[in-house]
């Protein structure tokens, strides 16, 4: 099928027909994988929800029916847009936002950087600049003299109606905020930031955000302690279950410290780990115990869930969650916070929240660090004996964008792998700071309402699956177990879904897991392997 060049004006089309159609035939093939069919949205959804961008949506919010409701959203959009440019309401990002709005020279040097644009078979609407250009043109038309006087001359002729606004909202959730495109821009324009600002506008002005991020995300985390819904008591009982499981696996009991005042380190995990991959926090406990580290977990509300979904869509929620994390650490009197294998929690605590709070919560007063340098220090110290032959299978490493490109933590994980694996690391192409996002970045990993998961698995995860298949091309034989290291909860969740969707384990025995799990698997004095492969 020939690719259709979606025009900007189509954003205002009043039709419910999607302005871009994603079909399996348009998607670039993944060698060795038969492309599964992409199901159409369920007929009963079509009357209630809006699929007019590309036939996908995560917004289980009934589309407004009355003109009054539609007007309210359009007016809210304009109010929010004004606030994005306001130095008080948007002090956090207004500088970077304005620069990116003002200086794009439309050279499209950034386009091919985007795994979503490329992975979709170059669908125009997913080009990094497409959504930015729409916002720019709308702003120009309604807020600049030049745009008001000569709209056609400046291309500021996109009509703003409810459909334009809603499609723009959807479009802001077709970018993983991975910021790979930013690296390629000769002017330093940040299209990901513009996508995030659009999300923020809808969340902070209208309260519209994916249910998984706001209502069941930050709201739930602030209310009960975790976006998973886990309350402090449940966390404590999971920890005690974990102690049992550890005893069963390694033949001795470890007491996992919880709320230990004055410990050197407060370790904060993504709470999803306790539920979906308890072997990961358990591995941290085994390793820290073996290395003699003075550490603790927290059972305070939010203290056991390091996620901060605000990073993806809402500065107020970001600040609320970050503040509580830091206060918990301060109250415990720990020397520093160490963030477990969760990429966005890394960035939230170490990078973004750095300039969100003053004084005693500065990094200089309450240091926050990644677990990766610490794990490397443990591995290099010789305090724990590793036997790499226990990890004798092909391995590759998926880099979490938040950890590599957005924080520059690239080497420690690679050094660890050298010390604990028998086979050399198979680097994906590209990797490190140039990596492709797993497709789950910026909340997509957990967004599964309506048919959004289909979009993620088929479009935004595509390039990652292609990379994984390519890196294992010579060992695809299912008799060889293969392991994709993903030291990030959301990346792991995304790869898990892709694994199921593309049959990566069933056909090729490709599995995934954390880095610390692999370290513990290599611990020489454990009686049996720590890693468990899926049932054959």
């Amino acid at each position: 099928m020939t690719k259709r060049l979606t025009q900007f004006k189509e954003m205002a089309s009043l039709s419910n027909e999607p302005i871009a159609q994603i079909t399996a035939d348009d998607l670039p093939p993944i060698p060795g994988i038969a492309q599964p069919a992409i199901p159409a949205p369920r007929p009963r959804w079509l009357d209630t929800y809006d699929f007019s961008l590309d036939g996908f949506s995560d917004f289980e919010i009934p589309a407004p029916k009355t003109d009054e409701e539609k007007k309210r959203i359009v007016e809210g959009f304009f109010r929010g847009l004004e606030k994005l440019f306001d130095p008080e309401n948007n002090w956090t990002f207004v500088k970077a936002f304005r620069l990116s709005m003002d200086y794009c020279v439309r050279c499209q040097t950034c386009s091919e950087a985007c795994h979503t644009y490329v992975g979709s078979g170059h669908q125009e609407i997913y080009r990094p600049t497409f959504r930015s250009e729409i916002l720019r043109r709308i702003y120009q038309r309604y807020y600049t003299t030049s745009g008001k006087l000569l709209p056609a001359f400046y291309g500021a002729d996109i009509e703003v109606n409810f459909k334009t606004v809603w499609r723009l909202l959807e479009l802001s959730y077709r970018c993983n905020l991975c910021r790979r495109c930013v690296m390629m821009c000769p002017v330093g324009v940040d299209n990901a930031l513009i996508a995030r600002e659009i999300r923020k506008l809808f969340s902070q002005e209208l309260g519209i955000a994916p249910v998984e991020l706001l209502k069941k995300g930050t709201r739930q985390q602030l209310q009960v302690g975790s976006s998973t819904g886990m309350r402090p008591n449940a966390m404590k009982s999971l920890v005690s279950d974990m102690e049992d499981q550890i005893e069963e696996k390694i033949g001795r009991r470890i007491e996992i410290p919880v709320d230990k005042k004055g410990a050197d380190i407060l370790l904060i995990h993504n709470a999803g780990e306790f539920l979906s991959w308890p072997e990961n926090p358990a591995a941290f406990a085994i390793l820290f115990d073996a290395a003699g580290i003075n550490w603790t977990l927290s059972s305070e509300m939010l203290g056991y869930d390091g996620v901060n979904y605000g990073v993806w869509f809402d500065d107020v929620e970001l600040a609320r969650v970050a503040l509580r994390h830091l206060q918990i650490a301060r109250d415990l009197g720990v020397k520093k916070v160490v963030v477990g294998e969760c990429g966005h929690a890394h960035k939230a605590m170490m990078v973004i929240a750095d300039r969100v709070f003053p004084g005693d919560l500065c990094i200089s007063e309450m240091p926050r660090e990644s677990c990766l340098p610490l794990l490397y220090q443990i591995a290099a110290s010789g305090r724990v004996k590793f036997d790499p032959s226990r990890n004798n299978f092909p391995i590759t490493l998926h880099d979490s964008c938040n950890v590599v490109r957005l924080m520059g933590i690239v080497k420690p994980q690679r050094e660890i792998i050298k010390m604990i694996c028998a086979q050399p690391l198979r680097e994906m192409t590209p990797h490190g700071v140039w990596n492709y996002c797993c497709g789950g970045g910026s909340g997509f990993a957990i967004m599964n309402s309506l048919n959004f998961g289909d979009w993620r698995k088929n479009v935004s995860s595509r390039m990652k699956v292609q990379q994984i298949m390519a890196v294992f091309a010579d060992v695809l034989d299912p008799s060889i177990n293969k392991y994709v290291i993903a030291a990030c909860s959301n990346c792991k969740g995304t790869i898990r879904d892709a694994q199921g969707h593309y049959g990566l384990w069933d056909q090729y025995h490709i599995h995934y897991g954390g880095l610390v799990d692999l370290m513990v698997n290599a611990m020489a004095d454990l009686p049996k392997p720590y890693l468990e492969w899926p049932e054959a």
Partner: protein, 298 residues
């Protein structure tokens, strides 16, 4: 002589207007609040070893206790690469824009050098004899580059989608500058008229100058007045996007200037309207509230 006087005034006016608008634009950016950290690696002021693979100081344990005093120079050098040979456009040359864009940019740089040369010659009272060569290369590169970009934008449907009439107008203006320069050069091969005009502006002494040279300068001067209002001035934005956003990795210490600035910004009122935002609170108070009970009352 009235037109010659007008052209002398235009020479200074265009320079003054350009500097005034450019300064205004710079001040507008620098007056913005301190952005939260939002860097992207590689960051050029990291050590050479780290820069190569994009590493950061956060790869170390206890990094907050270790002083970091990065030099700004590597960042400026990286930006210079972008200016001199459009580094990123060259590396990721998706639409074959690099060569022609480089030609246009060098046309502009050498065009400015031509004026600079004429200024130096006037001030020193000498003639180096280089002007015809520098101007010839500048105008040819500039004309070829800008016309080729126009052609590319008109013929490539994808680029065309992102090209508005104002872009073509701006590029057309740049092309006109260079074409007029070429015609002027052909009619005034020694560039004596060109230098005479520059000297007349510098000395405030009107002299007869070939009309084509005056038209070339008039178009150039109007461009100088117009340009800072357009995105052609992206070269100024570049310093701020890179140095003050994408490579700004400085962590905050208690009591520092950045810390005080953040404290002040946290006092700004929040008037966002969503149900989870608590009305009438500052940023700091918002962070301290949860917006749960408070929001429900809204």
């Amino acid at each position: 002589m009235a037109f010659e006087w007008f052209m002398i005034v235009m020479g200074w006016l265009s320079l003054g207007a350009f500097l005034a608008v450019a300064t205004y634009k710079i001040t507008r950016v620098t007056a913005q609040p301190l952005n939260v950290r939002w860097e992207v690696y590689p960051v050029p002021h990291e050590s050479k070893a780290r820069r190569e693979y994009g590493g950061s100081y956060m790869e170390e344990v206890d990094w907050a206790a270790k002083a970091t005093h990065p030099s700004r120079l590597p960042g400026l050098l990286e930006i210079a690469k972008e200016v001199v040979y459009l580094k990123r456009v060259r590396e990721f040359n998706q639409y074959g824009l690099w060569g022609i864009s480089l030609a246009m940019h060098w046309g502009l740089y050498l065009g400015l050098a031509t004026i600079g040369l004429a200024v130096i010659e006037t001030l020193l009272g000498v003639t180096f004899g280089l002007t015809p060569l520098v101007a010839g290369v500048a105008f040819t590169l500039g004309a070829v580059g800008s016309l080729a970009i126009i052609a590319k934008r008109l013929t490539n449907a994808e680029l065309g989608l992102y090209t508005v009439p104002a872009d073509l107008f701006n590029l057309g203006w740049v092309a006109a500058l260079f074409i007029l320069g070429i015609i002027g050069g052909l009619m005034d091969t020694t560039f004596a008229g060109y230098r005479a005009y520059v000297a007349s502006v510098l000395t405030f002494k009107p002299v007869p100058v070939p009309p084509i040279v005056l038209i070339h300068f008039l178009v150039l001067e109007l461009f100088f007045i117009y340009m800072p209002f357009t995105k052609i001035i992206h070269y100024i934005g570049k310093y701020f996007t890179f140095e003050q956003t994408l490579w700004d990795d400085a962590f905050k210490t208690k009591g520092s200037a950045a810390d005080n600035k953040v404290l002040q910004q946290l006092g700004y009122p929040v008037t966002w309207n969503a149900p989870h935002i608590v009305p009438g609170k500052t940023w700091l108070e918002q962070a301290q509230a949860t917006g749960l009970e408070e929001g429900a009352q809204k």
